[in-house]
């Protein structure tokens, strides 16, 4: 009998789908590209943040999902989530 060899790419795809069964069919598509366009920039809206705090009072704010870069649903980035703004450095290492 002939044994059908699976292409390495297909084998890798099977591995990925086994790990993440909820992975969508196509990796492309608007969600994927939207994330790319945002390029992981997080942003903080003080109005939203304070309204959410007032609304929720005793409840916890929804925490971040595994993907820190994607802002979805009710998750409001908090000041602690934002990357610290770096200060400019004067000399480059290449300049010695």
């Amino acid at each position: 009998q002939e044994k059908e060899t699976v292409s390495p790419e297909r084998a890798e795809e099977a591995k990925l789908k086994a790990k993440y069964p909820n992975l969508g069919q196509k990796p492309g598509g608007s969600d994927f590209l939207m994330k790319r366009l945002q390029k992981g920039q997080k942003y903080f809206d003080s109005g939203d943040y304070n309204m959410a705090k007032a609304k929720m009072k005793n409840k916890q704010l929804p925490s971040m999902g595994p993907d820190k870069n994607l802002v979805t649903g009710d998750h409001i980035p908090t000041p602690q989530d934002l990357p610290q703004r770096k200060s400019s450095l004067v000399t480059s290492k290449l300049a010695g």
Binding site: S7, P8, E9, R10, A11, E12, E13, K15, L16, K17, K19, L23, K26, P27, G28, G29, S30, L33, M34, R36, L37, K39, Q41, Y43, F44, D45, L82, P83, R85, K86, S88, L89, T91, S92, K93, L94, A95, G96
Partner: protein, 423 residues
């Protein structure tokens, strides 16, 4: 080592005498080749630091509450017209034209000023003299001459100077704009692929470049592995391409990864203008501008990674954007890989080589030893197995001197300059 030191772009100027690097901290460092040493005829001049300056600063877009990175995405040199040098540098949002000029003399002997700049009391002046220029230690100054801002909603990935040397293009994920180097308050939009409904977005622009000789022609590549060639004479808005370059895909081989690894990370015309080269995740392809349906040459950069795509997707390496470059005579192409490896392909002999940019394995002035990766099976002596590769050591940026066999290779934090052995 500091994150701000990460080199993000490398570019020789038109003569090859100067080499510019940009980094994540928004700085530009320019190296200059020493004049050839007449006594040491077997080596070309070394590159030493010529000028460094802060090109871009981190910014905050208050309206959108977005931080704008100062990282220099691209540097492009203008051809030299006078004593000064000019280059364009860009971050995600703003392009700047920099003038780099030398000062090697200063005026001395003013009548009303002391040498340290303080003003003299005019009543103490009894004789007059004519100020003269005296030599001083060379000072290299960089000053921003033009700032081209507020034309890009999305992140700029490419800039390219037209062969007319008056205009240039800037490309972001969805749009391409045409600028005049003298005019900063307006630009023309020449490509717009933003769909009316963002839910319908299927591809983004990944790179763009002007043709080296035809000032009306440019190309742009996409995340779906296509290249479009546009002619600005056809219409003001070049949304309809003149040519579409795409290699047909075998549908039976399609997988979850197919589109991601087909995304083109760089496109470069040959110096001749007859060919263009594209880099996707696993290969380098050479296209004849006269043939749209497939590339004329394909070179595998690191095919052994095809059976590692699952973990490369998980650690995001599959999204790494490698650049590629031609040598001066268009006979050799070069691109980077992982483990600080870089690859060269000779188009004539069809030979290829893998070299490594690292201090541990190469002493200065010694010949680089070719490397070999063992994909599977028994690893031979001196071979490196795929699983031992360091995926954090990536060479994304390389450049080739326009005339000589001198190459610049950027690892994460270091710049290596190699030249071929002269007899």
């Amino acid at each position: 080592s500091l994150a701000a030191d990460i080199i993000s772009t490398v570019e020789f100027n038109h003569s090859g005498e100067l080499l510019a690097t940009g980094d994540k901290g928004g700085r530009v460092v320019i190296f200059q080749q020493e004049q050839e040493n007449k006594t040491q005829s077997h080596s070309r001049g070394e590159y030493n630091v010529y000028s460094t300056f802060q090109s871009h600063e981190p910014e905050f877009d208050y309206l959108k509450s977005l931080e704008i990175e100062e990282k220099i995405n691209k540097i492009r040199w203008l051809p030299q017209k006078n004593a000064a040098q000019f280059l364009l540098s860009t971050n995600d949002k703003t392009i700047k034209l920099w003038k780099i000029s030398e000062r090697d003399k200063r005026p001395e002997g003013y009548n009303l000023k002391e040498e340290d700049g303080r003003y003299r009391d005019p009543t103490t002046v009894t004789t007059l003299r004519v100020p003269v220029f005296r030599p001083m230690d060379l000072m290299v100054e960089a000053s921003p001459r033009r700032i081209f801002a507020n034309a890009h909603t999305y992140h700029i990935n490419s800039i390219s100077i037209n062969s007319d040397y008056e205009t240039y293009l800037s490309a972001d994920d969805l749009r391409i704009n045409l600028w005049h180097l003298e005019i900063t308050d307006r630009s023309f939009n020449i490509v717009d692929i933003k769909p009316a409904n963002m839910e319908e977005l299927t591809e983004v622009i990944t790179a763009a470049e002007f043709h080296p000789n035809s000032c009306n022609t440019f190309v742009y590549s996409s995340s779906k592995g296509t290249i479009r060639l546009c002619d600005m004479r056809a219409s003001a808005l070049c949304d309809r391409h003149s040519k579409l370059f795409e290699e047909p895909e075998d549908p039976s081989n399609r997988s979850f990864f197919s589109e991601i690894i087909s995304s083109i990370s760089d496109v470069k015309f040959s110096h001749s203008g007859r060919y263009m080269m594209t880099r996707d995740y696993l290969s380098v392809k050479i296209w004849d501008l006269n043939m749209e349906n497939r590339p004329v040459e394909t070179y595998q950069v690191h095919e052994y990674l095809r059976s590692k795509l699952c973990s490369l997707y998980e650690n995001d390496c599959i999204f790494d954007k490698f650049e590629c470059c031609w040598n001066g005579s268009d006979s050799i192409v070069m691109t980077g890989s992982y483990n600080n490896f870089f690859r060269m392909f000779d188009r004539n002999t069809k030979r290829d080589v893998t070299l490594e940019a690292s201090r541990e394995n190469n002493k200065p002035r010694t010949v680089l030893k070719p490397r070999k990766v063992c994909a599977s099976g028994k690893r031979k002596k001196d071979e490196i197995s795929v699983d031992s590769l360091d995926f954090n050591k990536k060479i994304l940026h390389t450049a080739w001197h326009p005339k000589e066999n001198i190459i610049a290779v950027a690892t994460t934090n270091n710049l290596y300059i190699f030249q071929d052995k002269m007899n």
